[in-house]
Subunit: 277 residues, 3 copies
């Protein structure tokens, strides 16, 4: 029987052997860390800032697309719309990272509009997923979630059934859901929230995984497991955020599929439309 840990190990092996090229249209704060994380784990990051070039690369060699709205500008919004259209036309999977959606009106409207062409996966914290699903989440912590990830499970399942996308809710526990199946990952450490861009870079990894996984849900499971296991290993070496960020990149580089399989804490739940708790 194939376990979720087998799936994650398989996806990591494919990442390392094929090194998918991921076009990352993401926020200004995290571009460097995102690129370094993709390079470490086994991907080729590309960041662009011009609609024509975005079209070029999506029609030539991109394997996946990340849309992260963390520092959305009017100009970037236009480029992102072009990118989603091109990716969809070309059959390239894309991932939406709806940073601070629900808190800020402009990006909430932008993401809602974007979802009319559903992505392979949506990755967000509890507040963001609840906002996208239309469930009100009390929050005023900017990019941080005001809710626990478990609070957002029902919203995630609702959002997934509406868009057919896989939904990955990250937090103390990560939830991955699509098509009546939900997987739970309990790896990872609180220190991951103390490094800027850890969640955003996870969105880029999610995009890389969609390029090589059999299904978006498999990609979501693999993303959570890879980040969580590396978080566990990094915190064993570094207990403060500066050195922890460095240790994460080192662990993402050295993680083997076999080690991922052994240390991933994943459990699968089938629920046929009923939310698990």
């Amino acid at each position: 029987m194939t376990t979720p840990a087998d799936i994650a190990a398989h996806v990591l092996a494919k990442l390392k052997s094929t090194r998918p090229l991921v076009l990352c249209l993401t926020n200004n704060v995290v571009q460097n860390f995102t690129a370094n994380l993709l390079l470490a784990v086994g991907g080729v990051p590309v960041m662009l800032n011009h609609a024509e070039e975005v079209r070029d690369i999506l029609h030539s060699c991109a394997n996946a697309l990340l849309i992260n709205v963390g520092t959305l500008s009017t100009a970037q919004a236009g480029i992102m719309q072009t990118a989603v259209k091109c990716a969809t036309d070309a059959g390239i999977p894309w991932v939406l990272d709806p940073v601070a959606v629900g808190l800020l009106t402009y990006r909430t409207q932008f993401c809602t509009e974007l979802l009319k062409t559903p992505p392979a996966m949506i990755r967000g914290n509890a507040s963001e997923i609840m906002a996208l699903a239309g469930v009100n989440a009390a929050t005023c912590r900017g990019p941080e979630s005001g809710a626990a990830s478990s609070d957002a499970l029902e919203a995630a399942q609702l959002l997934s059934s509406r868009t057919a996308s896989a939904v990955l809710v990250t937090g103390k526990t990560d939830y991955m859901t699509q098509g009546g199946s939900t997987c739970i990952c309990t790896n990872g450490h609180e220190l991951m929230t103390r490094v800027t861009g850890m969640g955003c870079a996870m969105g880029a990894l999610a995009a890389a995984c969609t390029a090589v996984a059999d299904t978006p849900l498999h990609a979501a499971i693999s993303t959570a497991a890879i980040m969580g296991v590396c978080g566990d290993r990094a915190v064993a070496r570094a207990q403060h955020p500066g050195s922890f960020a460095t240790a994460m990149l080192d662990e993402l580089d050295s993680l083997s599929p076999e080690s991922l399989r052994q240390h991933a804490k994943l459990t699968m739940h089938e629920h046929g439309g009923t939310a698990i708790q």
Copy 2:
């Protein structure tokens, strides 16, 4: 009697317990380091790139605003003007970091105009503070100061009396002045000038401190002490700029209010309008 070190310890304790949300409108080079420094010391960084979103967050949950003109563009200038207006209307303290003012005409005019709505604090190196005060400083080192911080003390006192803002001049010795009081901080190390964005991130910390301190001068004192003490501790562990930057973030995370109180080298001077030397 309350010493400056008591003040700094009190402000650090409040930072860690309340974690103020700081909207950082800052330059492209330092956004990542700025966000990581705020997260390490106890703040929530938010970076935005759209006037409407800036308005939204200043009218909902921002506790302080940083304006840093390091890579000012025409578009960003417009967003910054909106931000200063909204912050002032909402009673949210803001900090100006006038990077390379005096050297470059466009940003000098922009900051001069901005100062008509005075901030809680202005943080700059000697050349920048002298330029803002209208005292000519010979410099041609780009973002680096051509003058020693002590040369700028009189200019800082002049600028503070004109704007009523606290002024923090950073350098080998840091000077913090407002309303006839000047405090001097002798913590810190030259290696801090060898990491890009150390001063800019200090401006973001200054903004966080204005959100929790009793007065802008207290915020300025706390900012200088926190950075200086962490610099002293980091250089004991790391003597080269790459590992020093990492060590700074680790020290900012682990610094306790009690340790700050013990190691801060702060002296207070009352002068009723006469410059101390």
Copy 3:
């Protein structure tokens, strides 16, 4: 007799003593690492985002200019054209880093146009140099080269003879060529390609070197040797990309001219128009 290693040692000594100010018009992903690398090795980085300010600094205190098209936008393209014109008028050397040229049409046309005012040096990977020289290179790895650097030597010599610029092709082996002379550098390590911006920051170092070297070829030789020797030393301390990036900055700070002279693996070839192999 002056060896290439003597040249590199001389240029490094001048970098550390004069600290040239380098205006870096570069991509969003690498600005922080670029600035930190220049500060570590001995330069003053300045990044700007406004045509007027670019003119100001090129007419006052800049010593060199870097143009890196990694995340070229329409607005940045205009600023870059202004910068190249001002630098040329002011006699300030500039370096072109044609990231992903050949793969993306917009930037290929932009760089081709820019080359009508030839730079002091062009630094690129094999694919980029072949594309600029009009030799087709099969590649679809985004910013990574699809060809080995040795494949691009002939193209580099062609490009150099056409523009009179020094050409630096980076890869497993680095080739530096100009005016009938070619130098080969075999320092460096594959891990350098696993850190984002290592090549881009090398372009900024190249610009700094053009400000202090006797000839652009000397600058190219020095750039390759400095990066390569520091790469060798860093990999002896750090075998994974996170800690390797930190170690690189530390080594760039501590590298002495004498140590560079001893460890640089440089060989010079005179060829009078015939390609060496």
